[in-house]
């Protein structure tokens, strides 16, 4: 069975993809992928998500991540959320 990560989409990100979540398979033989590679994959998969990702943050397992996407690794079972600018309150 392939190793999967879960992607969550909210607000403008959900509107752009038309799904609230999806599973992404890690490349075969890989235990992880960089957030940079995941970003490129998501952009290819969802054309309308490209401008949304320009202003969105990521949260991995409910923690905001900082912007060095090359060095941040996403592993099997991780939950990655796209967080567009928030508007609670």
């Amino acid at each position: 069975m392939s190793k999967e990560i879960t992607i969550l989409y909210f607000a403008t990100a959900r509107d752009a993809t038309n799904v609230s979540s999806e599973k992404i398979s890690l490349p075969s033989q890989s235990m992880s992928m960089s957030l940079k590679d995941l970003t490129d994959l998501l952009k290819k998969r969802h054309e309308k998500l490209v401008p949304v990702l320009e202003t969105s943050l990521y949260a991995i397992n409910m923690e905001y991540v900082e912007c060095d996407y090359q060095s941040i690794l996403v592993k099997e079972g991780d939950e990655v959320a796209i967080i567009p600018p928030v508007s609670g309150g």
Binding site: A11, T12, C67, P85, G88
Partner: protein, 148 residues
Amino acid sequence: MSNFDKDFVKLTSENLILQDIINLVKDDGAGAITTFNGTTRNTFKGKTVIQLEYESYSPMAEKVLSDLIHEARTKWELTKTAIYHRTGIVPVGETSVIIAVSSVHRQESLHAVEWLINQLKEKAPIWKKEVYSDGSVWKENAESRQKV
């Protein structure tokens, strides 16, 4: 350290009633209760808002808000705290968020409530969609944490 009987955080689709939240933070040792009650406005730049829809990443939002309370407790001496945020459809004029904090003296809870609502607006993964008669738009808080 978590305070199960002192700190209350909840995302809920149910109507928020200020007195219920005040009752959560009431304490005989606290001389002050400060509350913030956020309500939904009926206009935006002249357009009439029909209703608002709140979406949240609820498990993370509750975690972020609990972490903020934890941080607030390192800044001020607080007795009890509560943050309740509405989700789903909220009609115009209804309450979308309530923050209530009790403290022995008023200064502590006054400062904490202002800090908590500002931090919520910046960090909590919650989104508001304004629905007009001719469309809708996802809002962005001016305070929202930005990609750098």
